[in-house]
């Protein structure tokens, strides 16, 4: 039995605090997806809060054969979509100062605040569905099958979205180069 399944068992047996182990195991990774997807910390934290609470409520449906992470991500992806849809009418929420705070310090390589601000801006310019597919494929490194189960979208449609995301990013680079 995986660690995840064992922790789920403990929670269902009444040990609520065992859920903290699951939160700890997945929070950072989910946070990274939510921030990259939504572009700002506040929305990301909202998404994470709802995701983990909903996942808790739905534990009675979790089957050991499911990968907990896939199951959790399904809720997370859905939650990010809801939040993105709700703020569709608001102006672009990406803020420079926010971006500087988003990434954790990484002493191993030199990076500049400008780099990750830039990356986040570029990602935020992608259409949400393309961004989502790109993130799942290249940041979460999921297989297309996993992505399909998670998003409810067919594999070929997902491949198309990922390809288009890469095309957009490349186009953007071409534009910069020629500016």
């Amino acid at each position: 039995m995986s660690d995840d399944a064992a922790d789920v068992q403990r929670v269902l047996a009444g040990d609520v605090d065992a859920y903290a182990a699951l939160v700890d195991r997945y929070y950072d990774r989910c946070a990274r997806f939510a921030v990259r997807m939504l572009g700002n910390r506040d929305d990301a934290e909202d998404a994470l809060q709802v995701t983990f609470v909903r996942a808790y409520r739905a534990l009675d449906r979790y089957q050991e054969r499911d990968r907990f992470s896939a199951w959790l991500y399904r809720i997370l992806v859905n939650q990010c979509r809801s939040i993105a849809a709700r703020r569709a009418h608001r102006e672009k929420v990406f803020v420079r100062e926010e971006a500087l705070l988003l990434n954790a310090p990484d002493r191993s390589t030199s990076w500049t605040g400008e780099d990750e601000e830039f990356v986040q801006r570029v990602l935020s310019e992608l259409d949400p569905l393309l961004r989502e597919a790109f993130l799942l494929k290249y940041i979460e490194e999921m297989s297309y099958e996993e992505m399909s189960t998670l998003t409810g979208v067919g594999v070929s449609a997902l491949k198309m979205r990922v390809k288009r995301a890469c095309d957009r990013l490349r186009e953007r680079w071409e534009r910069i180069k020629h500016d």
């Binding site: 929670v11 990274r32 934290e45 954790a104 570029v122 940041i139 990013l169």
Partner: protein, 203 residues
């Protein structure tokens, strides 16, 4: 990013995006606070597990005699199976009476009540019960024909509360229980039957 022909710029974006983000311990604590305020999730499919395990349970003396006498459970109208007009059976009397008034005592420690399903189908070669207690699986709960009769029965433990079910005749015809209240059409063109279990009101 494993695509060998991926553009270096796109690879760079992906690499940067893979960096971890700052997370807030307070946010995690808020999650646990919210979680602690929730009711503990209960695995509902445990209900289904019961159905497959050999069980022993307590039945009061009154209950056992009622069980043995076949007075607990759903009655049936003898004769043809469907809700048709021709209800009067050849003998003039229903072959099994509907039991409602005898209340099966349910002790507080027993969550399940034993319930008997009865169905009359003289022409059938096999009958089963499908319902929310067995995932509507037509092979899980076959009924047994009483020798030399048209009566099919099965007995199983059901949890207290409301259950929806139907009979499946010869693997394909879904027939509602003629002696039980109907549930509205399920969205698949069929009205199932309702069984209420426990709480002193046995239908």
């Amino acid at each position: 990013m494993t695509d060998s022909d991926q553009h270096p710029y796109v690879e760079w974006i992906a690499r940067e995006a893979q960096r971890p983000v700052v997370t807030d311990q307070a946010a995690r604590e808020r999650i646990m606070m919210a979680v602690r305020a929730e009711p503990v999730p209960v695995r509902r499919s445990r209900v289904w597990a019961r159905v497959f395990e050999p069980r022993s349970f307590r039945v009061s003396p009154v209950g056992t005699t009622l069980l043995a006498a076949g007075l607990v459970g759903i009655g049936v109208i003898a004769g043809k199976v469907v809700n048709n007009r021709d209800v009067r059976p050849p003998g003039g009397e229903p072959s099994v009476s509907v039991a409602v008034q005898p209340r099966l005592p349910v002790s507080s420690s027993v969550v399940d009540t034993v319930v008997k399903f009865v169905f009359v189908a003289p022409q059938a070669s096999k009958v089963s019960v499908v319902g929310d207690f067995n995932g509507w699986n037509a092979t899980t709960t076959p009924m047994v024909r009483t020798p030399n009769s048209a009566v099919w029965t099965v007995t199983l433990p059901l949890t207290t509360g409301r259950h929806v079910y139907s009979f499946v005749v010869d693997g394909s015809s879904w027939i509602a229980d003629p002696a039980a209240p109907l549930a509205p059409d399920d969205g698949f063109g069929h009205a199932s039957s309702v069984r209420i279990v426990g709480r002193g009101s046995a239908l």
